[in-house]
Each structure stands twice: as structure tokens, then as C-alpha cells.
Symmetry: C2
Subunit: 282 residues, 2 copies
């Protein structure tokens, strides 16, 4: 996690920009290109535009996988482009498998494609998380793992709340057990994905994980505002990286300006809003 | 699911052969090739050898993803090779995301790469499953989705049993709710992944899903034997497809014969053992 934390402090920004490139939503001037190429040009433009305002970028693997092998080429190129710009990449892959299978996914996204961090699904228990931590530690680049704990869509809330204790508590305890090791940095290298839409859930997860770094989706287009972040903060007002995807990368749809300029301004606004709400950059 | 069911009946076999190709375990005569090419030659040989005995093949996506874009090329080629041999492919991807992200994963594996079925992780609730069903239905090729319900590794058992009701029951109910629609075939197109290692869990999942098709891992190398399958059968002695991966594809490691011959024999033995145990082919 230290690579993300250092970047957040250097940029004085807790903002993560999510790259969720749907070909149909790309700007008109890129629509004549083959899909994978259009996505690459678009995302490269977004990376350069948001770089001054964002701590990191998060690549939604599905949108690249959707484009077949040319999409996976672009995925790798963008992770490396982001690194060249000083932006660590979070591979939002939500992989959830065990043992050698989990190790193969970890090698793929952290070593072969070169992301700094990954998101992981804990449905199969700690065996689904540990191989990712092992690969991140072996690589020694300050990477880490964000385990899905409390996601923010309605059906996730139903599923994760259908039991006693609720599933998000079981997942949070799993992260707490794994979080003792790690890089010796300011945060354990096992963090949590925690949505910003239910304050009472967020508060409870923070109680269970007082020292963990949270990756917070659901900011911007998904409806969670800066006020929704507050219950997730640690005792020093930090401990969160807040992701905004569509509200930043598709800002051109409502602004009538160049997509890069629109995305850069949207990223700056999001960062400023988070700062004004008292969110400290890690 | 109907494509799998038809194939199982035609072959009189409930066996699925899992392709989990780890480059270090390939036969010596392939070790001089670049990894992706070695994996392709090896898996193509396995496909031809097991085709007479298996209802379907299951590709473990991680082992292809691990090899970068050349690995994903091989993944697509093998799915198409399997189809040419009359073997429907199950893409064991265990993806778990929602809305447009889940739809993108579904398009990738069912449409772009062309698998017949996929495995899906339900941690984010029904929003994580429905987009896969929608794509499978739109394609109209008799495909479907296997939702992780009760997996068989120890840490999954701990995680999935840590709540009341246990998580596997919540997941089974989710499958039951989704299973009403579908292709109008013998089984709903929402099935379940259910391990063969805990009879009491298997029996309970079958109670909750009396008419569903189960994909059963944990047979062979993972320790579940044919007796472990019995609690999972439906009232007609069918309703399961049983996966064996390592015990088939790495049979050459203990037999000193050609890897294709060894795999073909291991597949035939596994099918015969399942038949002798009274498992009907769907």
C-alpha cells in the first residue's frame, strides 16, 4: 500500500480516478478508431489530464477483457503509462479463487501486467487473499490488496446483510487477521473496499479495521457524496482513497469541452471537494 | 445449460475435465517451447484424448491470464478447438462484479472467447449474476451460469459457514430465485458450484435447489471421491457434472506413458467410477 500512500501525500489528494472505458461513451472524435485503439487513446488522454490531481488510477479489468486480447494489450500498456506518469495503478479485478489459481491471478495482474494493487473477492476465505499478498510482498514495490468488504450496490447490501453477523463483518475480520504482516509502512498491505453509501456500515467496518486503508467506490456518479466518506475516516481524518470513475472520465458528456480538459477539471473538483470535506490524503 | 446436458447424455458421462495448465508441470517434451505455445499444444492434446469420455471441459482462466496476452489467445483458441470437437467449454472465471462491469465480463467470456458457460461469484448479490444470464440467453446457444454456492477448500468452508444462516444457504437461495427463467430445457440456466467434500452441506444445497444442475469440483486430486457425490444427486440420480482437473491432465506424472494416453485413460477411469457409483449423466 505504501506506493499509494506516498503518492496520495505527494499529490495532497485522496482521489483515485477509475478507468471504466465503455467504447460507446467515448468522445465522437475517437469513434472512428478500432475499439481497443480508441480506448487506449482515450485513457492515455485521461491519465495525462488527471495526473496532477489524483493519487492513483484504478483500471476496471472487465472493460479491457471485453475487447479480447487487443484489450488486454491496452490494459498492460496503460498500467505502464500510468507508472511512467507517477500514478500507481489499482487493478480492479475482484478475482476470487484459491491456492495456485489465486497465485496465477496475482502473478498476472501484479507481475505480468504490473499493477501496484489489486481488488480481491473474499467469498472463498483467506486462501483467496493470501496468495495476492505473497506476490505483492515478494515484488517489494509497496503494493497491496483491497479485499471487498462492504460494496455499495443494492443487491450487494442485501446479500452481505442477509446473515448474522452480516457478511461485511466476517470479511472485515478476515482483513484484520491478514493485516498484521506487510511492508512495515503506515498501513497494512491488506486493505478493504468499503462503499460510501451506508454510514452505519462504514462506521462499523472502521471500528473493526481502525488502521486499514479503505478504497471507497461509489463517489460521484454512483451517488455517494463527500459527506458519506466521513464515517469511513480513521482517527486522524485519513485512511481512505476515494474512487470516482464515470463522473471524471465522461465529464465531456455534459461540459461540451475537450474530454481531457473536462476530465482534468472534474478530477480537480472532486479532489477539492474531498479536501473541503476534511478528508486527509492518507 | 442445455448444451452441457445434451453433451453429457450423448457421451453417457457426467465428467468434466478441467484444464489448469501450470507450465512447470507440462511433460518434458514440451518444456522447450515458449510457455503459451507449450500450454496450447498440451491442452490441445488433452482435449483430443479426453473427448470420448468427457461431457465438457472447464478452462481455469487464471492459468491463461498468467501468461499475458499470448495466454489469452491460447484460451480463445482452446475454447474454439473444444467446440470443434463437440466439447462445450465452461469458462471458470469466478468473476464477481455488477451491472455494466458484469455485462462486460459476460460478453468477454461468452461472446468474444465463446465459452458455453461461466462460473460466477455471488458476493455482490444477484446484480453480479443476472448480466451473465442475460448474455447467455441472448446468445441462445444453450449456455448458462454456475454460481459459487459451497466451495470445498477449508478456508471457504470457514468463511461460508461463519454466519447464520450459513453463506452457502444465502447463495443457494439466490440461485433458486434466478432459476425460474432460462432456456426451457431440462435444467434452469442458473446452476451452482457445490464441492463434494462435505455431505451434510451438499445435501442441504440439494434440498434448496432440487432441480438445478451442479458443477462439482474437488473430485480426484482434491480428495472428494465418488461417494462424496451421492448427497448432491437429484431425485433421479442425476443433476451433477463432476470436474476432475489435475488427476486427469497430469496423469502422465505417475504413469510414465504419453501424456495424451495417460489423460485419456484417467478420464475414462473417472467416468467409469462415477457411473459405477450410480451417477447418471444429467
Amino acid at each position: 500500500m505504501q506506493a499509494l500512500v506516498d503518492s496520495a501525500r505527494r499529490k495532497e489528494s485522496p482521489l483515485v480516478v477509475g478507468l471504466d472505458p465503455a467504447p460507446s461513451r467515448l468522445p465522437k472524435e475517437l469513434q472512428h478508431l478500432p475499439s481497443a485503439e480508441a480506448v487506449q487513446v482515450f485513457c492515455r488522454g485521461i491519465l495525462e489530464a488527471v495526473e496532477p490531481h489524483a493519487a492513483a488510477v484504478k483500471l476496471q479489468a472487465a472493460f479491457f477483457e471485453r475487447l479480447g486480447t487487443p484489450g488486454m494489450e491496452v490494459y498492460g500498456t496503460l498500467i505502464s503509462d500510468a507508472a511512467s506518469l507517477g500514478l500507481p495503478a489499482i487493478a480492479d479485478v475482484k478475482r476470487g479463487d484459491i491456492g495456485p489459481v489465486a497465485a496465477a491471478y496475482a502473478e498476472a495482474h501484479l507481475a505480468v501486467y504490473g499493477a501496484s494493487c489489486v481488488t480481491v473477492n473474499p467469498f472463498m476465505g483467506e486462501d483467496a487473499v493470501i496468495p495476492f499478498l505473497e506476490v505483492a510482498r515478494r515484488l517489494g514495490r509497496g503494493g497491496g490488496v483491497f479485499v471487498l468488504v462492504a460494496t455499495s450496490n443494492p443487491s450487494a447490501e442485501r446479500f452481505q446483510g442477509a446473515t448474522a453477523p452480516p457478511l461485511f463483518e466476517v470479511a472485515a475480520r478476515l482483513v484484520a487477521e491478514l493485516g498484521g504482516g506487510g511492508s512495515g509502512g503506515d498501513y497494512p498491505d491488506a486493505g478493504a473496499v468499503v462503499g460510501a453509501t451506508r454510514p452505519e456500515v462504514g462506521r462499523r467496518v472502521r471500528e473493526l479495521l481502525p488502521g486499514a486503508l479503505f478504497l471507497v467506490p461509489g463517489y460521484g456518479a454512483q451517488g455517494g457524496g463527500a459527506a458519506g466518506i466521513r464515517p469511513l475516516l480513521d482517527s486522524s481524518g485519513a485512511g481512505v482513497l476515494v474512487n470516482s470513475s464515470r463522473a471524471v472520465i465522461y465529464a465531456h458528456e455534459t461540459s461540451q469541452t475537450d474530454y481531457r480538459k473536462a476530465a482534468g477539471e472534474a478530477a480537480k473538483d472532486a479532489r477539492d471537494e474531498l479536501r473541503s470535506a476534511g478528508v486527509r490524503p492518507a
